[in-house]
């Protein structure tokens, strides 16, 4: 199967060298890295805003850039949607005219799922049509910008930190729309972010960029639990990312039971519905390990697993070590002190009980 995106480029910007290659399939591929790691340059290369010094960009089997063969498709013929950090709505047009701007140029590309009514409903912007961009809130602007990009019938959607300029409440307002976009539209998305929480919640696949190079790429849960990745400067703290389903609600103790591949988890979080599917993230620093099953402790969540990997000593004093634990095929990560690892005699293959102090649930 042809990948949705296949890219291998080299681009020099002053002293900075971007030298990145990766492929992305459907779903949402997150580009994660510190500021200055080359994330935005990379999406600008994909979108056609930057002409790379060398390399190729292939989207859905069509070569858009190939410097060896002298191919460079200009941005207006790429059919790649781009949602910028600042919404970049046209101030002289109404919301309706903004939404229809790209639609008009894409009128020959036939019909697909991006019908206007669908997009308005998906993003909840139907009531804004006659307004002007100057009168919209930050979150509304960003939703209109997403709608505008979708209505141009793109075959790939680029999102460059679309939430970075918004406050927490506005982020929470937009995240569910991006999830629906990922799950309902079947449109491959490349999503730039430097927030581990956003990535853990949204990304199907994760690409870690540092100093212009790809340091790791793969399914989100795998990359986020990789111990070598966690050692990279600016990388997110090692964590487990689990897909979960709410199987029961206990109204007396305000607890929800989540069923995951690794086992049952209990979380106290208001607003969850029974049957809802969501993602949970468990940070390495929130996990304790025990050789025997524990009784009489306050933590509710204990999972059984096997140590598969013990990481390098980390931190300036080398006092902490990350361990990777296989819980029924799912990777959990724990951060212990060097001393604990030695005292418990932990090594790959040891059966272990993981005590989880807190589960962060990134869901509405």
């Amino acid at each position: 199967m042809t990948p949705a995106l296949d890219i291998a480029v080299e681009h020099r910007l002053g002293n900075f060298l971007l030298d990145a290659r990766f492929t992305a399939d459907g779903g949402l591929t997150a580009l994660f890295g510190r500021s200055g790691s080359g994330k935005t340059s990379l999406v600008n290369v994909i979108g056609g805003l930057i002409r790379p010094t060398r390399g190729r960009v292939v989207v859905a089997g069509e070569t858009l850039v190939n410097t060896d063969r002298g191919i460079f498709v200009p941005k207006h013929r790429r059919r790649i949607g781009y949602v910028f950090q600042e919404a970049r709505l046209f101030p002289h047009l109404t919301v309706r005219q903004n939404l229809l701007f790209g639609r008009w140029f894409a009128r020959h590309h036939g019909h697909d799922g991006t019908e206007i009514a669908n997009v308005l409903e998906l993003l909840g912007i139907g009531h804004l049509l006659e307004r002007r961009p100057a009168g919209l809130s930050g979150g509304e602007k960003q939703r209109v910008a997403i709608g505008r990009a979708l209505l141009a019938r793109p075959r790939l959607l680029l999102m460059d930190e679309p939430l970075a300029s918004l406050d927490e409440a506005r982020k929470a307002e937009i995240l569910p729309y991006i999830e629906r976009l990922r799950d309902e539209m079947g449109l491959p998305i490349v999503y730039v972010s430097h927030s581990a929480t956003e990535v853990a919640r949204l990304a199907t696949n994760l690409v870690i960029l540092d100093q212009g190079a790809v340091k790791a790429s793969g399914p989100t849960a795998e990359v986020m639990s990789r111990l070598d990745v966690a050692m990279l400067p600016g990388a997110p703290e090692a964590s487990a990312v689990l897909d979960a389903e709410v199987t029961a609600l206990d109204p007396v103790h305000h607890l929800a039971t989540l069923s995951t591949q690794a086992g049952r988890l209990f979380v106290s979080r208001p607003g969850l519905r029974a049957g809802a599917r969501l993602r949970v993230r468990i940070l390495a620093s929130d996990v304790l390990l025990s050789l025997k099953p524990l009784e009489g402790i306050s933590a509710l969540n204990v999972l059984h697993g096997t140590i598969v990997e013990i990481g390098m000593e980390r931190g300036t004093d080398g006092a902490a070590i990350d361990l990777r634990i296989d819980c029924n095929g799912v990777m959990l990560v724990a951060r212990l002190t060097t001393k604990s690892v030695a005292q418990l005699g932990l090594k790959p293959g040891s059966p272990i009980y993981a005590v989880i102090k807190s589960v962060s649930v990134d869901a509405p």
């Binding site: 979108g47 056609g48 805003l49 200009p74 941005k75 207006h76 013929r77 790429r78 059919r79 790649i80 949607g81 781009y82 910028f84 600042e86 970049r88 709505l89 046209f90 101030p91 002289h92 701007f101 790209g102 140029f105 894409a106 002007r132 961009p133 100057a134 505008r148 990009a149 141009a152």
Partner: protein, 232 residues
Amino acid sequence: MSDWLSPEEWTAVRLSLLVATTATIASLPIGIAIAFLLARGRFWGKSLLDALVHLPLIMPPVVTGYLLLIGFGRRGPIGQFLYDWFGIVLSFRWTGAALAAAVMGFPLMVRAIRLSIEAVDRKLEDAAGTLGASPLWVFLAVTLPLCLPGIVVGMILSFAKAMGEFGATITFVSNIPGETQTLPSAIYTFTQVPGGEAGAMRLTLISIAISVIALFASEAMARFVGRRIAIE
């Protein structure tokens, strides 16, 4: 009105409006093109072009008029070419007055439009490109509407300059009643004959009235355009 103004005076008013309107409208497309080149272009000789455009602002108007006479007169290189190929005569015609007015107002027009093009956010143009708009469409649908306030200001400045233009006009196309005698020339003529004070005063009042109306019109237009393009 016609009782109050003599037919000759009335002709001068109409001719002035015709010359100024023609000068403004005819120079607008060239003005936008040059302004765009100066704002965005990177080419050899850009500062030379910039200087050339500004020349009429710096030189004495009489010098500009004389250069136009040399270049666009019947025996001038450009004038001869225009006559031989298109049958166009500029010297001592109202069209020549319009050319002189356009040249004198050109630097003002280009400057205003150039500044507004430079103020347009290039990021919006990039966004339009990713939505499928070709460079020409980006210019027509994004850049041009966004610099409309500057274009309006440039047109008003050019029109005002054309209404008041005297030195270059009288040097290039002389002062022929009914053909090249615009308001300033007519006022000048009145001041040169005994008993012309009343006529000069009437035309002066009309000049002032037209200027005030143009000013109000430009204010209204700028406000209308500004409301439409409330900057984000």
